[in-house]
């Protein structure tokens, strides 16, 4: 309700949510010492491998780093449409 009123009056949502989001992102990158560009590059490489075996929905794929107490976890969700017939046989290069 408050959100609706805020939007009605031309607000862009709560600025504290922006602060929290930015902060979470910052802290993770401070901790793993990985730039967003490096994360993107890694994501692209991982996706390349996955796509060799599966037909996936790239639009809805999520890759993100999350803090779990004192550790950082790479959390990803890759919706699979189907396993492709192009999958290389086991042991093949």
């Amino acid at each position: 309700m408050k959100d609706l009123i805020a939007r009605f009056f031309g607000g862009r949502g709560h600025s504290k949510d922006d602060a929290k989001q930015r902060l979470k992102f910052l802290l993770i990158h401070d901790q793993v010492d990985m730039t967003p560009a490096q994360l993107e590059a890694m994501k692209a490489e991982i996706m390349e491998v996955i796509c060799r075996y599966m037909d996936v929905d790239k639009q809805d794929t999520v890759f993100r780093l999350e803090r779990l107490q004192d550790k950082v976890a790479l959390v990803s969700s890759v919706p699979v449409r189907r396993v492709t017939s192009r999958a290389p046989a086991h042991g093949a290069a």
Partner: protein, 272 residues
């Protein structure tokens, strides 16, 4: 048993010195013997916040270099029984002090005081390492801003790496009105991110500027909201459990006050 507590933050300007001065006074008013130590060598300020700047003869570096005895350098606050200040040197730099010399100094102060509070300089360099060297416990001061919380997170990591017990958090300059409007992270947002226990919540207030102008810490004013918040932190530091948070009870806004006045909302709890 005596305890040395370092007050630190990483970022400058979040209120470390004001917090140290007020906690020192509050703990002394509770009957403890307290030494407050300014570890910001080259940029001393704790003396000014306490209003003791005119009484400095010797400083921390004089003591460490053996140019005077510790007792000669300690300034007794005449307004508050049991409070001593050890000022920082103003004309030297931080390389004049080492973690080892600081450890020895703190050990000596603990012999004669119940609490030794160290006001840590901003940053994570030598001044920080010197400040945490003799400390048994750390209080981290932050404000509800992205940059201050980011630095606090870094400092928490460094305190834990130094094998000190889990630090506790003081959130300073808390504005309930902005929190209510969704324009300031609330205490739970900050605690979720930093994941350490809260020990204090200090409201933003112009009173601090006035008390700093006068060199009279807010805890000396019985009616000050900031003073009340800091007195409660001192009680928690001293081990009292279940002390409620003053900053959450205050500045409730016009409509709630109006509804209370009309008898439509329950009467406000007396701060206690």
């Amino acid at each position: 048993m005596s305890e040395c507590i370092v007050i630190t933050s990483g970022k400058g300007g979040v209120g470390k010195t004001t917090t140290t001065a007020n906690l020192g006074v509050a703990l002394a008013l509770m009957g403890n013997r307290v030494a407050v130590v300014d570890a910001d060598i080259g940029l001393r300020n704790l003396d000014v916040v306490l209003g003791l700047e005119n009484r400095i003869v010797y400083d921390l570096v004089h003591v460490i270099e053996g140019e005077c005895r510790l007792k000669q350098a300690l300034i007794k606050d005449k307004r508050v029984e049991g409070l001593d200040l050890l000022p920082a040197a103003q004309t030297r730099d931080k390389t004049a002090v080492s973690p080892d010399s600081m450890r020895r100094l703190i050990a000596q102060l603990k012999e004669t005081h119940d609490y030794v509070l160290v006001d840590c300089p901003a940053g994570i360099e030598q001044g920080f390492r010197n400040s945490i060297a003799g400390a048994d416990r750390a209080l981290i001061v932050t404000t509800p801003e992205v940059s201050a919380i980011r630095d606090a997170d870094r400092i928490i990591g460094l305190v834990e790496a130094a094998e000190m017990p889990e630090p506790e958090l003081i959130i300073n300059r808390y504005r309930r009105n902005m929190v209510r409007a969704g324009d300031m992270m609330d205490k739970d947002d900050i605690l979720e991110i930093l994941a350490i226990p809260l020990i204090g919540l200090i409201p933003e207030s112009e009173e601090v500027i006035i008390s700093t102008n006068r060199g009279q810490p807010a805890v000396m004013e019985p009616d000050s909201r900031v003073g009340e918040a800091l007195r409660r932190i001192a009680r928690r530091v001293h081990g009292e459990k279940g002390v409620p948070y003053a900053a959450l009870e205050q500045d409730e806004g016009f409509w709630l006050s109006f509804r209370r006045w009309m008898g439509l909302a329950p009467a406000r709890e007396v701060a206690g």
